[in-house]
């Protein structure tokens, strides 16, 4: 149970700035996800916390105390490496036992812990394997995970721990992590490029890109109130619809218009930064668009361009004059190219972004 605080962390590798001033607070016992695309700086940040990379500037505090002076081997952190980093010259058992042996645990304690964690991760049958490079990818990942989870450190750092597993095992492992976190009640920082994984596991998610944390928030806020265009587009599938247009103040409130449609914005009291007549981007999630609903002020006729039937839902690509939108509707609907449909764009569910900065205009 350790509270982690990161202040103004910077790290460069030659000309590449991997971290450009990271600030992050992780409450004691929380499970926080670091969500970002490849190369965002997730791994570097975790390695700095673990102590195997030295930051150029900033501070890292465990329970209010700076740990920058503490070398990795005394920091009492466990880390799962994205590359697994199994020790190739050791058996599976020795790999998992390594951190305990380095801590001079007794033989019986080590044996008990190794078998326990192997049982939990369903790799008990692999313990005798001499050469870890003969394992399958999923097995290696679980062995590496076992090595990480075998002890009880102050913090767990997990760098994409289930990204290479097949979809089914991944789903299982997600639930497993939630359970594990409940059992261990440990501080866990979990890096992943998959927003579904982050949302499924973490109470709070830090979206990181180009070495900067763009937003640190709960999943629902990331979805509903993204701070900028990147967060909005990175989260959600299918990707949020974005169209460019002009906002005008009308008698009934604000209106967004492109050459082919006008959307009345309700509940825009919090759009404090809006200027009459300015160009903005309007974003609306595909799942918020209502197909064939009751008519209201924001009802439009659209043409079907494509439909992907996914079983429980259908993703429909629509064209409205000069804009193209994706919408999701429940069930298996058979739309044909050129079909005309009625859609509602809910005026209270749209998000407006500044065209040049990409910041949300709350």
């Amino acid at each position: 149970m350790t509270r982690v605080e990161i202040r103004g962390l910077k790290k460069s590798f030659g000309p590449v700035q991997a971290l450009r001033g990271i600030n992050l607070e992780v409450e004691s016992g929380a499970l926080v996800a670091l969500l970002g695309p490849t190369g965002a700086g997730k791994t570097t940040l975790l390695k700095c916390i673990a102590g195997v990379e030295e930051p150029d500037a900033g501070d890292i505090l465990f329970d209010g105390q700076s740990v920058l002076g503490t070398p990795a081997w005394r920091r009492d952190v466990a880390m799962f490496f994205q590359t697994y980093a199994l020790y190739p010259h050791m058996s599976v058992y020795d790999n998992i036992a390594y951190p305990l042996r380095e801590r001079k645990w007794s033989r019986q304690e080590i044996d008990r812990s190794v078998k326990n964690v192997a049982e939990k991760l369903r790799i008990a049958h692999l313990l005798d394997r001499k050469d870890p490079s003969t394992l399958s990818g999923g097995e290696m990942q679980r062995v590496a995970l076992a090595r990480t989870l075998v002890r009880n450190p102050r913090i767990f750092l997990l760098d994409e721990p289930i990204s290479n597993l097949d979809a089914k095992l991944r789903e299982e492992m997600r639930t497993e992590f939630k359970r594990l976190h409940k059992e261990l009640k440990q501080t866990i920082i979990y890096a992943t490029p998959d927003f579904l994984e982050a949302f499924a596991i973490a109470e709070k998610v830090a979206v990181i890109k180009d070495g900067v944390i763009l937003q640190y928030d709960t999943p629902i806020n990331l979805l509903r109130r993204p701070k900028n265009r990147f967060v909005a587009t990175f989260i959600g599938s299918p990707t949020i619809n974005i169209m460019r247009g002009v906002v005008r103040r009308m008698a009934y409130g604000w209106e967004f218009s492109t050459s082919s449609l006008r959307i009345q914005l309700s509940d825009v009291g919090h759009y404090s930064k809006l200027l009459d007549g300015s160009e903005v981007e309007l974003a609306v999630r595909p799942r918020d668009i209502v197909l064939e609903g009751p008519k209201n002020r924001n009802t439009f006729k659209a043409k079907v361009v494509a439909a992907e039937r996914l079983g429980y839902e259908t993703i429909v690509t629509l064209s409205l004059g000069d804009v193209e939108l994706k919408a999701v509707t429940k069930g298996m609907r058979s739309y044909k190219y050129g079909d005309e449909v009625i859609i509602n764009i809910p005026g209270d569910r749209v998000i407006l972004f500044d065209v040049s900065s990409g910041e949300a205009m709350y």
Partner: protein
């Protein structure tokens, strides 16, 4: 039709295979023959060795091998050209070769491995300059530095000492050791060492428990190369030793018989001398191949 084409293709394949085997056999004969001739000569009497046409069937004699150790050796003093009779058989020279090779390899390997690991992992300021500097010490032809080193050794009292030869060979070998081992250490993924750091090993433990076991193959290749370098060295051994520390290559060059050169005896010494190298290469061939194919030809990263 199809059958015919298959037949033709099959025949072409047989011809191809035969050609490959034939050229391989010729190449092997080409390389093996000198060694065969050496061993054959060592088992011949003086008369047999000089017979024309050369004898391919004869009754082998082990006289030469016995003579190596029982007969007192004569040799020509390198500098003065005097002919000297030695008070011992050839075993002293074999002993010298072993001592010098083993010691200098041991020192060069230990220093080289540690230096290579530091260069690979910690990349101290000016790593590429230092690496180039280390290599540059091997760029001069040996003969260029031979005379200065001779006088240098004379005045320092290192002439005709084990220490002197060992130091010199260590210096010769260090660049090879550093360069080869660095490229092997570069191959070890950093994440593995970082994982060990997080798992609670300090850097010294990471070195010998994690990094070193990953490069054992490379280490074998490196040691193999170094041993062959030293074992065969002639020039400096000739310049810097007298009887007490003389190594086998120099001794062979100085070996004479009572009447002219005794080729049988020389061949016998040489046969014994290449034996350890042959055994070593045979044992290390897997490593050596690896070392040659990717160990040395890569730049400073």
């Amino acid at each position: 039709m199809a059958n015919l084409r298959n037949n033709r293709r099959g025949r072409r394949k047989i011809v191809k295979t035969t050609l490959i085997y034939l050229s391989t056999i010729i190449a092997v004969i080409f390389f093996i023959f000198p060694i065969y001739w050496l061993v054959a000569t060592s088992l011949k009497t003086r008369a047999q060795a000089f017979s024309t046409p050369p004898l391919f069937v004869w009754e082998p004699t082990f006289r030469n091998f016995i003579d190596i150790f029982l007969k007192r050796q004569t040799e020509i003093e390198a500098i003065t050209g005097q002919e000297l009779e030695l008070a011992t058989g050839a075993e002293i020279f074999f002993y010298n070769s072993f001592v010098v090779t083993f010691s200098s390899i041991a020192i060069a390997t230990v220093i080289g491995v540690l230096a290579a690991y530091s260069f690979s992992r910690y990349k101290p300021a000016g790593t590429s300059t230092l690496m180039f500097f280390i290599l540059s010490t091997r760029m001069l032809p040996a003969i260029v530095v031979a005379i200065p080193i001779y006088f240098f050794y004379r005045s320092l009292g290192l002439y005709n000492t084990y220490i002197g030869l060992i130091l010199l060979y260590t210096m010769f070998n260090l660049p090879f050791a550093v360069w080869m081992m660095k490229s092997f250490f570069d191959e070890v993924p950093r994440d593995i060492e970082q994982a060990a750091l997080v798992d609670g090993s300090n850097p010294v433990k990471v070195f010998y428990k994690i990094a070193l076991p990953q490069v054992l193959v490379g280490l074998g290749a490196t040691i193999g190369f170094l041993i062959i370098n030293v074992w065969n060295e002639f020039l400096f051994a000739l310049l810097l030793t007298e009887r007490a520390t003389r190594t086998v290559p120099v001794m062979i060059a100085g070996t004479r018989g009572e009447v002219g050169i005794n080729w049988g005896l020389i061949a016998a010494i040489e046969t014994l001398y290449i034996l350890p190298a042959l055994v070593l290469i045979f044992l290390l061939q897997r490593f050596l191949l690896r070392g040659m194919t990717f160990g040395t030809v890569r730049g400073v990263k």
